[in-house]
Symmetry: C2
Amino acid sequence: MKDLSATKLIALVGMCDGKEQYLAHLLANRMDVEIYSIKKFYSHLFEATLYPDLCFLDMSEDVSRSFMLLGSLKTLNIPTICILPSGIGLALELRCLSGGAYDVMYWPESKSEILKKTDFIFHNTIFEQLVFDKHVNREKHVSDKDNIDTLMHQILSSLSVSIDAKDSYTQGHSLRVALYSTILGKECGLDDESLTLLHYSALMHDIGKIGMPDAVLRKPGKLSDEERKIIQTHPTIGYDILKTITLMPDMSLVARFHHERWDGTGYPDGLDGVDIPLYARIVSIADAFDAMTSERSYRKPLTFEEAGKEILACKGTQFDPQLVEISSDIIQRYISNGKVLTFDDVLSTTA
Amino acid sequence: MKDLSATKLIALVGMCDGKEQYLAHLLANRMDVEIYSIKKFYSHLFEATLYPDLCFLDMSEDVSRSFMLLGSLKTLNIPTICILPSGIGLALELRCLSGGAYDVMYWPESKSEILKKTDFIFHNTIFEQLVFDKHVNREKHVSDKDNIDTLMHQILSSLSVSIDAKDSYTQGHSLRVALYSTILGKECGLDDESLTLLHYSALMHDIGKIGMPDAVLRKPGKLSDEERKIIQTHPTIGYDILKTITLMPDMSLVARFHHERWDGTGYPDGLDGVDIPLYARIVSIADAFDAMTSERSYRKPLTFEEAGKEILACKGTQFDPQLVEISSDIIQRYISNGKVLTFDDVLSTTA
């Protein structure tokens, strides 16, 4: 887990009109931020004296050199967000995306949108580090296998974002659950292939929510018994959607069993103990942890420390006791002196 | 397109309690149906004198031999639906799916559900034939590349079914649009890799509908101006979801541009002519064709012939004139003596 907690370096390149001050101020308390002209940045890359984790590239001034730089960043596997002037045609956006941009952003852009895009990229690159150790073995040429893993990851991540968008209180939930599950799975000793399957399965665990009525899913506050019964059908609906993916049966099983409990009082099938598939037991903890540490309409988020205590309290009833032990160890590592930690802190702390 | 219109052979194997009569009656006017005991069927397979397109396998009597047979069917790449007694535990269902079943079905089952599952499988196998010619080159051992294509296809098909489920009138819409698009693309001379990309893009063209409110999407009857404006945001929402799949940029472009018109009066960007990407122009025709030939709350479906005339009438205004010509040729081949043809007929006719 060496890289997970390392401070990220963000490069702001070719900025004009004060964007660099705005971005540097916004991101500085979460990451290291450095500001470069296109020319200086290019020479740093050329001499390999710099390897940022993310690059914001302003496309509004020196367009042709910006595109040259974009191509180099793509080759170097450095995720880049291109910043475009608002009101410009779609053609430039498409050129950026086909030229290798990870995402584009029209300026001015809201703080929450900038942070959302930044987190999405870091989630993805952290997953890649966790599973593929790409930061260690940087290779110029990506093999077909890597391409396919990346493609599957891109597809399932994108879809998970659209699943979460159904529910006003779960933005980024599936991405975080997938990240937490992968951390926990890695600590359990799963190999890379298993971690990838676990990650995919976790990204899709809530897909059954696509079938839930908006009125129930978006209801602020607590649900009635009737509404809770409707929500509790999402695991079987998810299972029915995913079971035709016979080449990855784990995806449907995680969707179906992530609300089962170790003591057999969960739903939909009341399985208990190790009859619940391992991946579903892992996702169950990650899911509960993220729900507790995220904001809901009727309560404030718990701190990581508080949520860790809740997980521990459910050892052997709701959760697999062995997995609870491992989770507690992991959570301890992310708690520093009673500070209220959040997902963003996990991404940015140097703990 | 040789296999597309060939009559399908369905084998009903090991049936008890009159299931075979029920299924044979239900399916007989669409496909050739033959009834076998497990033993007789096994020996036919063993001697390679039989190669059905789909197998219904009853798991309620001779369980252990049924599972042996299931393994052989998987090896032979013959899609199989296992029939389980209602009220039986989940364990048997999971064993069937992990043992190679394409799907399971609890008995008794409604006619519409049986037809839905049958069509889903035929859609998938027809796609494989169209693109990979698997019926011609049956190989015992599937290569990694085939596995990945199959996996991607399974994932995107499953998700497309869940997109369509959002809207009460679009069951199977994305699967049919993907099939029609692939037929049209093949006729345009696209190579296999392009056809696969086109197929994936078509499966996902309506993904932006996940973000639409139920009240609008499920409204029976015509939409108000305000509601139509909401629905018309689905291409950009779909584009935003899919644009992070940078390894397959076509997916996001088809989502964004499938409601553009050749004459520039479409939405969201008002592109015209060949500025609209080719795949989007193809999906646009397939999309309109399926909408016209499917039932809506406020009108009956058009016949293939009627829909073909409508497409022709929009040559050069809504649709690419060259693609309209090719489409008309294809549609002509599926029209027989004024009969009211449906999607099911395309699957089953020997035309």
